[in-house]
């Protein structure tokens, strides 16, 4: 229980799969307590014998199945079955002597589905529960009518309208969440890609500069290799694993730096070599994987660059966002073209950053969709219309 609450407290740090697991655990715990407290009491109510035997048994079986699925790590299956379990409980109450309880349970079931935060699950199961609720109110509306109601039709309409309204507003909630998430996610992915490219350049420049100083690239430096080996051997002593030798594993790690990994994956398909190579690929020192990206993020925290206040355009790189005057934007465009032509920003065939862009490559780049994050359609059109002039004077 304590672990469960600590996981909720730290849920922001959990992966998507771990969060889903946490949610299913909570729902099952809730189902267990709720079922244990309420079902035995209802046994004294006026249910038909079939309902009294069949539904609680089905409830128990579905609950056990959901818990088993969770235990064997089939988390999504467990999620679906936890919803079925709650649906059975709702139907059980809806068939009881007080239809208001059944109706309220429909709201709880919808809430459980909302809890999972999955739009498709919500549309399918939430839609089914809402539909069941509307039909249920049609059939049992006479038992839901209040003392001051003006008539059965109006009373039914209020119940049905409210249930449908609840479903629809939460549907909007999901659409809103998804669009906001997508937007933030796309922004993140674009920035991640840009950061990875810069990491690759930083690695190239760093190793070239090391070479000038008579040093080998980081991954070939024997001091670096020995330090990694010694630290790993020390740490591994706290987590013994008979199936692997840590020193051999470190050797394998440095060996991978010089290999064509795709070739290894092809040659050793579905072997331990492939498994471990894939695991370690993210942490190679000469690739912009997770290790080097985290390193760059950490280095960035300490880097004393253009500090100072936070301007609104700090993270904006489009010409529009940074330059309001049209005259300035045209000058910037010209400077940018010149920069592309004369500065070495691209990899050459020897994997050094020693190549610049040709006029045709610049045309392709400015025409590309991805470049709309830098130039607007209007600016790109201006360039394309005058591209010969750009080439003649700035190329």
């Amino acid at each position: 229980m304590k672990t469960l609450f600590s996981k909720i407290r730290n849920s922001d740090m959990l992966s998507y799969a771990e969060v889903l697991r946490l949610k299913v655990s909570l729902v099952l715990l809730f189902l267990f307590i709720f079922g244990l407290l309420t079902v035995p009491v209802t046994l004294f109510e006026t249910f038909s014998l079939e309902v009294l035997i069949f539904l609680p048994t089905l409830f128990a079986l579905l609950f056990i199945f959901s818990a088993t699925m969770l235990a064997v790590n089939k988390v999504r299956t467990a999620m679906h079955f936890s919803i079925y379990t709650f649906a059975v409980l709702t139907v059980y109450y809806a068939l009881g002597s007080n239809p208001l309880y059944g109706l309220l349970l429909m709201y709880v079931t919808l809430t459980i589905i909302i809890f999972y935060q999955d739009i498709y699950t919500y549309i399918i199961y939430g839609g089914a529960i809402t539909l069941y609720g509307i039909i249920y109110i049609f059939q049992n509306g006479d038992q839901l009518i209040g003392p001051d109601a003006t008539g059965l039709v109006m009373s039914n309409l209020v119940y049905q309208g409210t249930l449908t309204g609840f479903f629809l507003v939460f549907l909007i909630y999901f659409i809103l969440s998804e669009t906001i998430y997508d937007q933030v996610n796309n922004d993140y992915k674009q920035t991640q890609k840009s950061l990875r490219n810069m990491t690759r350049h930083m690695l190239t420049y760093t190793n070239e500069l090391r070479e000038r100083d008579g040093l080998e690239p980081l991954h070939d430096d024997e001091k670096v290799q020995k330090a990694v080996n010694d630290v790993a051997v020390f740490l591994a002593a706290f987590f013994p694993d008979d199936s692997l030798d840590i020193e051999e594993y470190v050797d394998f790690y440095f060996f991978l730096h010089h290999q064509d990994l795709e070739d290894i994956y092809q040659k050793h398909r579905q072997t331990e070599i492939e498994k471990y190579a894939r695991e370690l690929e993210k942490y190679l020192m000469n690739k912009p994987g997770d290790l080097m990206q985290i390193h760059v993020s950490m280095a960035a925290k300490f880097f004393m660059g253009s500090e100072g206040t936070y301007p609104d355009t700090r993270y904006h790189y489009s010409v529009d966002a940074n330059y309001r005057s049209r005259v300035n934007r045209i000058i910037v465009l010209a400077l940018m073209y010149r920069f592309f032509c004369v500065e070495n920003t691209q990899y050459d065939r020897w994997k050094r950053v020693e190549a610049s862009l040709s006029h045709d490559a610049i045309l392709d780049l400015i025409n590309s969709q991805v470049f709309r994050s830098i130039l607007s359609h209007e600016e790109a059109k201006f360039f394309l219309e005058n591209n010969k002039l750009f080439k003649e004077y700035l190329g």
Binding site: S11, P147, T162, Y205, L235, V296, F339
Partner: protein
């Protein structure tokens, strides 16, 4: 270490960006809430009419809705009117629950009670911390007040009894479940925003690092004179081609002047283009200079990299999978190698960052925003043995080479 100031500025920048993103998102959510509120007016009017409410009562409800929609519209059009406060959102929440209570008093029907959930759902659209707390407290308190104060309305015809306690228990379940849902959701949303803001600051600083590295690597500085001279020639030809006066030349002269001297707000800007010599336009010209550590250089560098394919990109990469040194399916030895390599790389001197001690690295990894990067058990062992690990690295670097 001088980097401490840099680390604190990093946090300041990311916090400012999170706030900016939240405000942008709040505007979009307010738009949705406004649309839903406008849509609710008609069915509510019909319900009131059928329950025999007076025209005056119906008008009062419409007036409350119209006021809330207007306040929200003002917020959408002129957000600065409300400064940093979230007043329109809080007014909307309170108005919704007040409307609910007055509907209970007016109609006294069990069907009205379920409208409480619709009010809850509308407020949930905000997906914002203070709104969520208000929503959860209000739905429970208002619900309990309704059940205890107007219990008679639950006397459903043909049903023996509806226990007040049953409804309160139901409300408790409903509220606690939704509180859990929203707390998990809000925590993750905040985490996403902080990750996006952090990566934006990472990118801004990485651009500075990589351009500085490039300058060091190429040995000769950028020939800014060539840039300005050729752009001047280009602009003259452009003006001639489109048959207009050359409005660029004076600006380019100004840029050359500013490149050599410190930018000054006293410098006049074009009389011909009619732009005023405000600090803002001077700042803009300053941002156009061809300097290695200038905004334009960063923009151009980033733009030049858009040609690069991304070998490592995968479809699964998203906010749901951050770079980490402890991926779910990695075995313990992989995690150990990843962490060891990380500590050693951080320890090594690089042109852009002096080597950090193991203690400093552990300190970085223990921070809230980075603690999820490393296996918790491993980090615990590392923390307890910082000095030993430091000695191992020092010894390896002194002796050099593997045995």
């Amino acid at each position: 270490m001088t980097g401490n100031h840099s680390v604190s500025m990093f946090k300041e920048h990311t916090e400012a960006h999170i706030k900016k993103l939240e405000t942008e998102q709040l505007k979009r959510k307010t738009l949705f809430v406004n649309v839903v509120l406008a849509l609710l007016i008609a069915p509510m009017g019909i319900a009131l009419y059928n329950y025999g409410s007076s025209v005056f009562t119906m008008l009062a409800y419409v007036l409350v809705f119209a006021t809330v929609v207007t306040i929200n519209t003002i917020f959408l059009r002129f957000p600065k009117v409300f400064g940093e406060s979230r007043l329109p959102m809080h007014i909307t929440i309170l108005a919704l629950y007040v409307i609910f209570i007055s509907l209970v008093v007016e109609l006294r029907s069990p069907g009205v009670f379920t409208m409480l959930f619709v009010a809850y759902a509308v407020v949930a659209l905000y997906q914002e911390r203070s709104a969520t707390i208000m929503n959860n407290v209000l739905v429970f308190v208002v619900g309990v007040i309704t059940v205890l104060g107007f219990g008679d309305m639950f006397r459903i015809i043909g049903v023996e009894r509806t226990q007040v306690i049953d409804i309160v228990v139901f409300l408790f379940i409903f509220t606690s479940l939704l509180s859990l849902t929203t707390s998990v959701l809000l925590k993750r949303k905040r985490h996403y925003l902080s990750q996006v803001s952090a990566i934006k600051e990472d990118e801004a600083r990485a651009l500075e690092i990589v351009t500085a590295l490039k300058a060091k690597y190429r040995r000769t500085p950028m020939k800014h004179d060539d840039y300005y001279r050729q752009v001047a020639a280009f602009s003259e030809a452009l003006a001639e081609k489109i048959g207009m006066k050359n409005v660029f030349s004076e600006r380019i002269e100004l840029m050359k002047y500013m490149h050599e001297k410190a930018p000054s707000s006293e410098m006049p800007i074009s009389k011909e283009t009619g732009e005023s010599s405000t600090r803002l336009s001077m700042d803009e010209v300053n941002q156009m200079l061809i300097k290695p550590q200038g905004k334009l250089h960063y923009i151009m560098y980033k733009a030049s990299q858009l040609t690069q394919g991304d070998d490592n990109a995968s479809n699964t990469e998203s906010l749901r999978q951050f770079p980490s040194l402890k991926h779910t399916f990695d075995c313990m030895y992989t995690r150990i190698v990843a962490l060891s390599a990380f500590i050693v790389i951080m320890h090594t001197d690089k042109p852009y960052l002096e080597g950090l001690s193991t203690r400093a690295v552990v300190g970085l990894l223990r921070q809230t925003e980075t603690s999820h990067l490393v296996d918790n058990d491993l980090l615990g062992v590392l923390q307890e043995n910082t000095d030993v690990v430091e000695q191992l690295i020092e010894r390896a670097f002194k002796k050099g080479g593997r045995a």
